[in-house]
Symmetry: C2
């Protein structure tokens, strides 16, 4: 993963993702991080200014792409002559699934993302809300159009529940242990399927 043909910045971002997921933001030291990335200790501050800013860049690298994929998928669905609630859910969930299956650390990043939510870190929440909040708004509007009987508050509650469940499921927090015979890819695809079916039923409730 940290092959020499990756630039120093890329190697640092990769190692940061890995160690943030495993040990948290405070728990991952720059010494371990730079050793993993096979770069000098001072490289982080040279290239990113500070550890805090490195955290931001780890998120930006993945979320720009994830958000674009989600909005793209949503557009594609909406362009069709007819579509169901499940299709919008898939537009939201499948890009996250795809990211979690990415060979270059996607699964790791999803866990970092879940950690960020759990940390309740105001700085991070603001960063995420400011930079990627509009995506949630788009999806809320799409769901709302499909569920006209639902008032806005009810709708937001349900989307919130889904986002939480998705984060939780993709980050592999649950009690469900993947059986050795099942590949991680299939395990995650199953999780996404179940989540979509579950969420669709939940959204339709009442």
């Amino acid at each position: 993963m940290n092959s020499p043909h990756f630039s120093t910045k890329e190697r640092i971002l990769g190692a940061a993702e890995e160690l943030f997921a495993r040990n948290g933001f405070a728990g991952a030291s720059l010494r371990e991080l730079t050793a993993t990335a096979k770069v000098n200790l001072a490289a982080v501050n040279y290239h990113f200014g500070s550890k805090d800013n490195l955290v931001n860049e780890v998120f930006r690298r993945r979320l720009d792409e994830l958000s674009a994929h989600r909005l793209e998928a949503l557009k594609a669905v909406q362009a069709r002559s007819e579509f169901a609630l499940e299709d919008i859910l898939a537009a939201f969930i499948h890009p996250a699934l795809l990211l979690s299956l990415d060979k270059t650390g996607g699964a790791t990043f999803v866990r970092v993302l879940a950690r960020a939510y759990a940390e309740h870190n105001e700085r991070l929440r603001k960063f995420l809300s400011e930079n990627y909040g509009h995506v949630l708004k788009e999806f809320a509007a799409a769901f709302g159009a499909q569920l006209p009987h639902l008032d806005k508050e009810e709708l937001y509650w349900r989307i919130d529940i889904i986002a939480g469940a998705l984060t939780y499921a993709m980050a592999d927090f649950g009690v469900i242990k993947r059986r050795a015979a099942m590949s991680e890819k299939i395990h995650r695809e199953r999780a996404a399927e179940h989540l979509i079916r579950f969420a669709a039923a939940g959204l339709h409730a009442e």
Copy 2:
């Protein structure tokens, strides 16, 4: 909260809960913690042996009670001549809601719990699974009896999703901002209601 009539151990546990929720386990230092608790720095190691063990005790204090309440509520439901899926869900969710409304730090603890999940800490996961895993098993059996058409894997998936959504909802991670006019108590009760309805629909899916 740290009034002088609380014992040193209790003051430490209270401060630990607060700071673990705010700054994480690694991020909360014993110096800040003991200052908050108004006890000497060495008191943590005197009363708890180590910081790691303090973490365990923070969980034990709350989870013993939560698990007992859940099993008690489940038994009460099952003793009735008839009951619905929602009643079992309520037996699982309402004790968590009650805990989150506890005046002496329950809401704080719920956030600590969510953090523990996110940390993916093997030591903690083992501790939680070993000490409180049987509760999940009881509920799985209860749900299974109400949903005989569901195979075991499907059932476990759905319970997992619900546990994740509950953790996130109670920990207040979501994008939903409580309106100033609404008390936190009502906000959380609403969350629980929505979650129960959503989860019941999800469990019934197919």
